[in-house]
């Protein structure tokens, strides 16, 4: 099941710079997209979401962009901080009224001081 894909398993960014995490999806029926953050030995934590009727949603240092025609979304973190080091999962939901999240493989973000 490759409906949601994160092609970069890891990303390393300097503290203070912008982190950009990418995600692609194939199911055009998805209508909500989310980013979750996961620290080791913890469960995923909701970070930010975007509805398919929008192309941008911003919350503090975090901005999610959605390009529906390209079936692509991205998460921008600026400025990046050491506490942002975690695994970031892209997820999607809403296809045909489904009540489940479909996750990508995750991208491990490391912020270097």
């Amino acid at each position: 099941d490759q409906q949601v894909k994160q092609n970069s398993p890891s990303l390393s960014v300097q503290e203070g710079r912008i982190s950009i995490l990418n995600c692609d999806y194939t199911n055009s029926m998805f209508d909500y997209f989310l980013w979750y953050k996961k620290y080791p030995a913890e469960g995923p934590t909701f970070l930010i979401s975007i509805s398919s009727i929008k192309d941008k949603n911003e919350d503090g240092r975090f901005t999610v962009f959605l390009n529906k025609s390209a079936k692509h979304l991205s998460l921008h973190i600026v400025p990046s901080q050491p506490g942002d080091s975690a695994v970031y999962f892209c997820a999607a939901t809403g296809a045909q009224g489904a009540q489940k999240l479909v996750f990508g493989q995750g991208t491990r973000l490391t912020i270097n001081p």
Binding site: E42, A98, Q99, L101, G104
Partner: protein, 114 residues
């Protein structure tokens, strides 16, 4: 801040044994879920539960799996006869309403089947 709690944090079992993983969702939440993550793989949906019944389940959730909310607070996942491939981290999640997909996850229960 309310949180989803899971027990045990780690369980080791022999193949063929029954396992019960327990979860206490956030108290006013109405929708409950189990997800799992096999080491190195994606987080995968197993089952959703609402109004005391399964509302959706994945292909993974076969007859060996069952869920129950026996007393209005606990939410359990039972695996009747564990297989090696059931080894994974199992996450419980809950939410008040699903429309945005924002779930609150527990810390997970690691199941190791030998």
């Amino acid at each position: 801040e309310p949180e989803v709690t899971q027990t045990p944090s780690h369980q080791v079992t022999q193949m063929g044994q029954e396992v019960i993983l327990r979860c206490v969702p956030i108290s006013n939440h109405l929708y409950f879920y189990w997800y799992r993550q096999i080491l190195g793989q994606k987080v995968e949906f197993l089952v959703s539960f609402y109004n005391n019944e399964i509302s959706e389940k994945s292909e993974i959730f076969d007859d060996q799996f069952s869920v129950e909310r026996p007393d209005g607070s606990n939410f359990t996942l039972k695996i009747r006869s564990t297989k090696l491939e059931d080894s994974a981290m199992y996450f419980c999640a809950s939410t008040l309403e699903f429309n945005t997909g924002e779930l609150f996850f527990g810390e997970g229960s690691r199941l190791t089947v030998l």
